[in-house]
């Protein structure tokens, strides 16, 4: 699964994107955030305020309780501040 990161999520992890093998117990977007938070200090810092994190699956916003399904690209980022 391709993961892409933006803004301070990207900065804290130190990567713009990566491809990961996600374990079977990761079903929802929220599961993915919790699993990523356990991958080391940088990830723990990026996802410490997990409820704030926004998720897009194949470039569409989804709530954290949405199943990821056969996602090609999952993006994780802070609340948007455009406009």
């Amino acid at each position: 699964m391709k993961l892409v990161y933006f803004a301070w999520v990207r900065e804290r992890i130190g990567l713009s994107e990566e491809t990961v093998d996600v374990p079977d117990h990761v079903v929802t977007a929220g599961d993915l955030i919790r699993w990523l938070a356990g991958r080391g200090d940088a990830y723990a810092h990026a996802f410490e305020a997990a409820a704030q994190i926004r998720v897009a699956v194949d470039q569409e916003h989804v709530p954290q309780d949405a199943p990821l399904g056969p996602a090609r690209e999952v993006a994780l980022f802070p609340p948007m501040t455009g406009g």
């Binding site: 933006f6 803004a7 470039q59 802070p78 609340p79 948007m80 455009g82 406009g83």
Partner: protein, 162 residues
């Protein structure tokens, strides 16, 4: 106010995500050029604002592809909600933007003014809360600035339309 009257031709929808500046007058003129059924164009220009005199620029990061798609989804929601709209334009810049420079333009054209005003405000409210852009400050003294925090008031404004 024939709010439920369908537009005589399909509404014109123009969404752009770009580094370059845009020409506000030309964009607004394009929304009604060559037609006589448009009575109203409401528009909004958002600018890089320096609150404390310490800002060198805002860096606008975006999610390429999704940024344009999401603004398009918001614009299509506006056209569905105000079927009398004849045209909608939304342009959002990315990259480094100094104080005083333009960041965003939204404009909505309609036979009557209420739909145009409401749609322009709707576009900005949802563009703020749904379009994948993030602002980072660069300070004049060279120190690294903060990521601009999202405002609860922006969520509240978007929630008004639900």
């Amino acid at each position: 106010m024939a709010v439920d009257e369908p537009a005589p031709v399909p509404a014109q929808l123009d969404v752009r995500v770009q580094a370059a500046d845009f020409d506000v007058g030309a964009e607004i003129a394009r929304l009604h050029a060559g037609r006589t059924d448009v009575g109203a164009v409401a528009s909004f220009v958002g600018l890089c604002r320096d609150e404390g005199g310490t800002l060198a620029a805002l860096e606008l990061e975006h999610y390429p592809g999704m940024a344009e798609m999401e603004i398009r989804r918001v614009a299509e929601a506006a056209l569905a909600r105000w079927p009398m709209l004849t045209a909608v334009t939304a342009i959002h810049r990315h990259g480094r933007i100094p104080p005083g420079d333009r960041i965003v333009l939204v404009a909505a054209a309609s036979p009557h003014r209420t739909a145009a005003f409401e749609a322009a405000e709707f576009l900005m409210d949802f563009l703020k809360t749904r379009a994948p852009f993030w602002k980072k400050e660069h300070r004049l003294d060279g120190t690294e600035g903060a990521w601009v925090a999202a405002k609860d008031t922006d969520d509240a404004k978007a929630d008004r339309w639900r």
